[in-house]
């Protein structure tokens, strides 16, 4: 079992003929993901890595039955791409694109929610169910099937932790990169709920960072709704206030959103918080042993 993506996922790639889109389509196909269609306006009849290209998402869905979409279009076209996917009835939309203006995302978020769809990202690496489907830009080979569900606001830091887990013999059910922007479609709380409901997930790792209060919301949610052990890591303990640390959402503003607050909130919710990424696997092992004993 897993969450959100698996062997049944029929993936559509928006922006498939672009540099990023074509490169990552080939990577996803090579991983074994069922990529059934691509969309580039005016691209009908082309093919990328053996995947047929359509002019519109609606055409692609009608022809192929695609049930998930991944978006690689530039920031100024990304909101439109998300609307198009949701309007065509795609239930899961993953937006890799970074640098989308924040105010563009306010109506996007609302539109996606009110249409009952799910958006992962933007500004995220995507998600992967090891051995089944890679819907993103992460290096597939570091992942391995197993019992740990992982959710993170970061990209390479996620790979770092996944790699450490895999080396320690801890595979993953699904690893979800929710993105580093101030407005993202899917929060920690949403993914925690999915992992809690997934019978194959035995432990959850959440990787947060400075900015906003999604980690604090997650802590409150964990207390009331999560029975599985949760291990956390928060990046940015040395980050200064008022400065955006790469990710648009990683900023301590008005004295809130500090790593210390988030670590304290998670700790109080019973989450084992690692002081460094390399400490995560041992904490997962002891948390899992604690549950079994």
């Amino acid at each position: 079992m897993s969450i959100l993506v698996d062997k049944q996922t029929r993936l559509l790639v928006q922006g498939i003929t672009g540099r990023e889109g074509s490169f990552h389509t080939a990577q996803m196909v090579e991983y074994g993901t069922s990529v059934v269609a691509g969309v580039t306006p005016g691209g009908l009849g082309k093919s990328v890595a053996g995947v047929p290209v359509f002019n519109t998402v609606a055409d692609a869905v009608a022809a192929t039955g695609a049930n998930a979409s991944i978006i690689y279009v530039p920031a100024r076209f990304a909101p439109d791409a998300i609307y198009e996917a949701v309007a065509a009835g795609i239930p899961l939309v993953v937006c890799i694109t970074e640098a989308i203006p924040i105010l563009d995302m306010v109506p996007v978020y609302d539109y996606v929610k009110s249409h009952g769809a799910r958006l992962i990202g933007p500004n995220c690496p995507g998600l992967i169910t090891p051995g089944e489907a890679k819907v993103g830009i992460m290096p597939g080979f570091i992942h391995q099937p197993g019992p740990v569900g992982l959710v993170s606001r970061s990209g390479t830091l996620t790979y770092e932790v996944v790699d450490a887990l895999t080396r320690a013999g801890l595979g993953q059910t699904t690893a979800v990169g929710i993105g580093g922007d101030p407005i993202i479609g899917t929060s920690f709380v949403d993914v925690l709920a999915l992992f809690e409901a997934d019978p194959a997930t035995e432990a959850i790792v959440m990787i947060g960072e400075i900015g906003g209060s999604d980690e604090e919301d997650a802590a409150r949610f964990i207390v009331e709704n999560v029975s599985k052990p949760v291990v956390g890591f928060i990046a940015g303990q040395t980050a200064p206030p008022g400065k955006r640390m790469g990710h648009a959402g990683a900023i301590i503003s008005g004295g809130t959103g500090t790593a210390a607050e988030k670590i304290a909130a998670l700790g109080a919710a019973g989450v084992s918080v690692a002081d460094r990424p390399s400490a995560v696997p041992d904490l997962v092992k002891s948390a899992m042993a604690g549950v079994r004993s």
């Binding site: 306010v106 830009i137 080979f141 040395t238």
Partner: protein, 380 residues
């Protein structure tokens, strides 16, 4: 991106907000001339990109032109939270009857834009939020309809504003929302928004910040950038497409990915060191970007050792290593360098780095330990 008060006030005024219009002066003589023209009492306000100007003595009244000159002389050149005052704004003095706070921000947890107001104006709103949160009233704007007049009126009534002043408040609050949305701001704030003794609404201060990701569609905002207020290295990094933040430590950091870059800084601190910067070189970490990163990091004279932390994902470790070697051919670096390389083909990459005389290790903890030792002139 941040702008000065006088720039924010001009933007707000264009969107229909009554502001206390003044003039900018760069010398005491100019301040005196402006005060002469306005007549009567004026306020002299330091124009720097930081809060706490009042507490630092950067905002003062002057009752005549000679005093305006003397006050401007004090404030110009003053250091406020590490920033030098190069300009002052001279505005006419106003008789204040009542002060309010009015702001528009993104409510991240609701994923919507929020207006907030308080009858405790003129003080630090963060203090009010922390100590007396019940004194702040809020309204959430609809993603499609925006911020409606009824919402603004409800805020005004909740603040106890007299019935005949409610429409004026609501109009300013809606205009501030329009300013925020049309200019792609991340903050639009009037503190204080006042009722004058004559009974008029007036914005006595203006503060705005803008979404860096939206600047491309607002060339007019980009033109407001004051290069004197920006760290030159951060500016250079932005032009090269590299995220860089200057910190006050002595260990330069070059990392691929923002989250990993933060975690790397934290790892340096765990080993007892202090990071000199945050730097995200981007996912691919190619030779040109790494060379640029070296020149950014070594521009800081405090840097005593450099930690490169690359998790090679889809970009292979051997390519990253060759990129680092090529970059070192382009930029002369004298500080000791420790490279942490992990991921695809990392072993080959580390061999390539070792051949070039670089220290290459495979874990972040070990790299942080070695770089801290190197920064203190010790072999790890």
């Amino acid at each position: 991106m941040n702008v000065h008060e006088y720039q924010a006030a001009l933007l707000m005024s264009r969107h229909g907000i009554p502001v206390n219009t003044g003039e900018v002066a760069g010398t005491p003589g100019q301040a005196e001339a402006v005060a002469q023209r306005f007549g009567g009492t004026v306020a002299i306000k330091a124009q720097v990109h930081t809060g706490g100007r009042g507490k630092a003595g950067g905002i003062k009244l002057a009752h005549n032109p000679a005093e305006a000159r003397a006050v401007a002389e004090q404030i110009l050149g003053m250091d406020i939270r590490g920033r030098t005052v190069r300009k002052v704004l001279v505005v006419p003095g106003v008789a204040i009857a009542k002060e309010f706070y009015l702001g528009v921000v993104l409510d991240r947890s609701k994923r919507r834009v929020s207006a907030m107001a308080s009858a405790e104006g003129g003080v630090d709103i963060e203090d009010v939020a922390r100590e007396r949160p019940e004194k702040i009233v809020r309204a959430i704007a609809d993603p499609y309809l925006g911020f409606q007049a009824y919402q603004a009126r409800a805020m005004a009534f909740e603040l106890g504003i007299a019935a005949d002043k409610v429409a004026g408040f609501a109009s300013i609050a809606q205009s501030l929302y329009e300013t925020y949305v049309r200019e792609d701001a991340t903050l639009a704030e009037i503190n204080p928004l006042i009722l004058t003794e004559a009974g008029d609404w007036l914005a006595l201060d203006a503060k705005m910040s803008f979404d860096d990701n939206a600047l491309a569609r607002h060339p007019g905002i980009e033109d407001l950038r004051d290069l004197d207020e920006e760290n030159p290295t951060e500016l250079e990094a932005r032009r090269a497409g590299i995220s860089f933040v200057k910190l006050d430590g002595d260990i330069g950091c070059i990392v691929n990915g923002a989250g990993l870059a933060m975690a790397t800084m934290d790892a340096v601190k765990l080993q007892g060191g202090k990071p000199a910067n945050f730097l995200d070189v981007g996912g691919g970490a190619n030779a040109d970007q790494v060379a640029k990163a070296f020149s950014l990091v070594t521009a800081d004279p405090n840097v005593r050792a450099i930690l490169i932390n690359i998790f090679g994902g889809i970009t292979r470790g051997d390519q990253v290593a060759l990129g680092i070697r090529e970059a070192l051919g382009k930029v002369a670096v004298t500080a000791p360098i420790v490279v942490r390389l992990s991921g695809t083909n990392a072993e080959i990459g580390r061999e390539l780095l070792a051949e070039a005389g670089l220290r290459a290790v495979d874990t972040m903890d070990e790299a942080a330990r070695q770089v801290v030792a190197a920064s203190r002139g010790r072999e790890a």
